[in-house]
């Protein structure tokens, strides 16, 4: 049995909340009361003062690290912190601010669909607008080593643990919705074949592109919108109350996946990469055309039919997926269109947009 590489160095704090949190996570097993107090105070103050929780580097990193305790691996954490009540308390404060901001900003259709059949129609209509995806088509037109390497870095935060946040939902659903979620997740996890686990296929893409496939290796480089995308799934997945939202999130994710992945694959092929690198994208063109139908009808639709009180949250989860992932995509596109890096910095061996590279290494567009 092989052990996956783990990140052993703690990430860099981005403000008072993540500073106080990282001091606890990397500190002695017995945290002094003053340490918890400093963190709680910093969190409450920061949530109140934040202009935009979704773009707040400090809050999104703190939330990401608190969720990371449930996923692992997090070798830089010195003690068993997963169920530390003081950390759960502060997570609740951050989540309240995060969810309130989402409920304020994520647009829902008006009027809301009246039943599950209308919900499915609404979800196809909502996701139809993303059928010709801006980021993916732009990448297929303007691929470069630097841009695609940044793209993989952003995606690595979620995709190296692809499907894990939605897996929390399995135990929280019943009947048809549970069976549909398991059917999708079974495919995500390789249908019994470890080499076909989607996260493993993505790791191969990263290695094939010369990138490090250790989960969170590039955590310091990714900005708040990328962390918010992952945190959104963890928020929905880790609360039974939000089981409608995690189902809706997965449905919207799958419904906007096949066509973009076709363009992503095309972008990599244009630069001369072969199936070792593009397998992940090729696999998702085919798999997600299946998952889309199951997720929309048998997962989201059946859940709204069996538990009608969850209908609005199913829709909220879907709309939040499109909104938050839209912010992440907009950030990348805006930066790259301006010839700037979309990352917070660089690392040795990583090609980023706007960095000095010898002209012959650049790919003609």
């Amino acid at each position: 049995m092989t052990t996956a590489p783990t990140r052993t160095v703690a990430p860099t704090a981005r403000g008072p909340v993540s500073t106080a949190l990282l001091e606890i996570l990397t500190g002695p097993e017995e945290t002094p009361a003053s340490g918890y107090a400093a963190m709680s105070e910093a969190a409450a103050t920061a949530v109140d003062a934040s202009q935009d929780v979704l773009a707040d580097e400090d809050l999104q990193l703190a939330l990401f690290l608190l969720y990371l305790l449930h996923y692992g691996p997090a070798e830089f954490v010195t003690a068993d912190r997963e169920w530390d009540p003081e950390l759960l308390r502060v997570r609740t404060v951050l989540e309240a601010g995060f969810e309130a901001e989402l409920r304020r900003r994520v647009p829902l259709p008006d009027p809301l669909p009246g039943d599950s059949a209308q919900l499915v129609d609404t979800m196809f209509a909502m996701t139809g607008g993303d059928a010709k995806p801006t980021l993916a088509t732009w990448l297929a037109r303007h691929p470069s080593e630097e841009i695609l390497s940044e793209f993989l870095v952003h995606r690595s935060i979620y995709t190296l643990r692809e499907a894990d946040p939605h897996a929390w939902g399995i135990a929280r659903l019943r009947g048809r919705a549970k069976a549909a979620l398991v059917e999708i997740q079974s495919d995500e996890y390789g249908g019994g074949r470890p080499e076909r686990v989607h996260a493993t296929i993505f790791a191969q893409t990263m290695r094939g592109f010369g990138l490090d496939d250790t989960p969170d290796h590039y955590l310091d480089l990714v900005p708040a919108p990328t962390l918010a995308s992952m945190n959104l799934m963890s928020l929905f997945g880790l609360h039974r109350r939000l089981r409608g939202a995690i189902a809706g999130h997965l449905a919207a994710f799958e419904m906007t996946s096949s066509i973009p992945n076709k363009y992503y694959g095309r972008a990599f092929r244009k630069l001369g990469y072969d199936a070792d690198v593009t397998w992940y994208y090729d696999e998702h063109v085919e798999a997600d055309a299946v998952h889309e139908q199951i997720a929309a009808r048998d997962l989201a639709g059946a859940l709204a039919q069996d538990e009608p009180e969850l209908l609005e949250d199913v829709l909220f989860g879907a709309a939040a997926c499109l909104y938050v992932d839209g912010l992440m995509g907009d950030h990348m596109l805006e930066c790259w269109s301006d010839g700037r890096t979309s990352l917070r910095g660089s690392m040795p061996g990583l090609q980023t947009v706007g960095s000095e590279a010898p002209a012959e290494e650049r790919v003609a567009l």
Binding site: A131, S258, I259, K262, V285, E286, A289, V290, Q293, R297
Partner: protein, 103 residues
């Protein structure tokens, strides 16, 4: 956990078989404005006379719009093509029953 067969449904009745076998038929679902969803153990011959092959997943989506780049499988292109299917026109369980109004 009792010593009884643990495979029972919610109301306590036993589940006869959880394995998929010849008694477990393949189910084909035409998705409105989308592909045919085929659920079960199937082989697909790429063309007439060709050797049937096992698809890589247990549920496959077969293209109906003829726009797919990975035909016979669906790649989502029906959405770009604004492909529209007609509602079912045939009562599968009872072919003699009038399924509805004609055009």
């Amino acid at each position: 956990m009792s010593e009884q067969d643990p495979r029972t449904t919610d109301d306590g009745s036993p589940v006869l078989s959880v394995a998929h076998d010849a008694e477990d038929p393949v189910v084909i679902t035409p998705c409105p404005d989308g592909p045919l969803l085929v659920r079960g153990d199937v082989l697909i011959a790429p063309e007439p006379g060709a050797e049937p092959q096992k698809p890589p997943r247990r549920v496959v989506a077969l293209c109906r719009c003829n726009m797919s780049s990975i035909a016979p499988f669906c790649d989502g292109s029906h959405k770009l093509a604004n492909f529209r299917t007609r509602p079912p026109r045939y009562n599968i369980g009872n072919p003699r029953e009038d399924p509805g109004e004609e055009d």
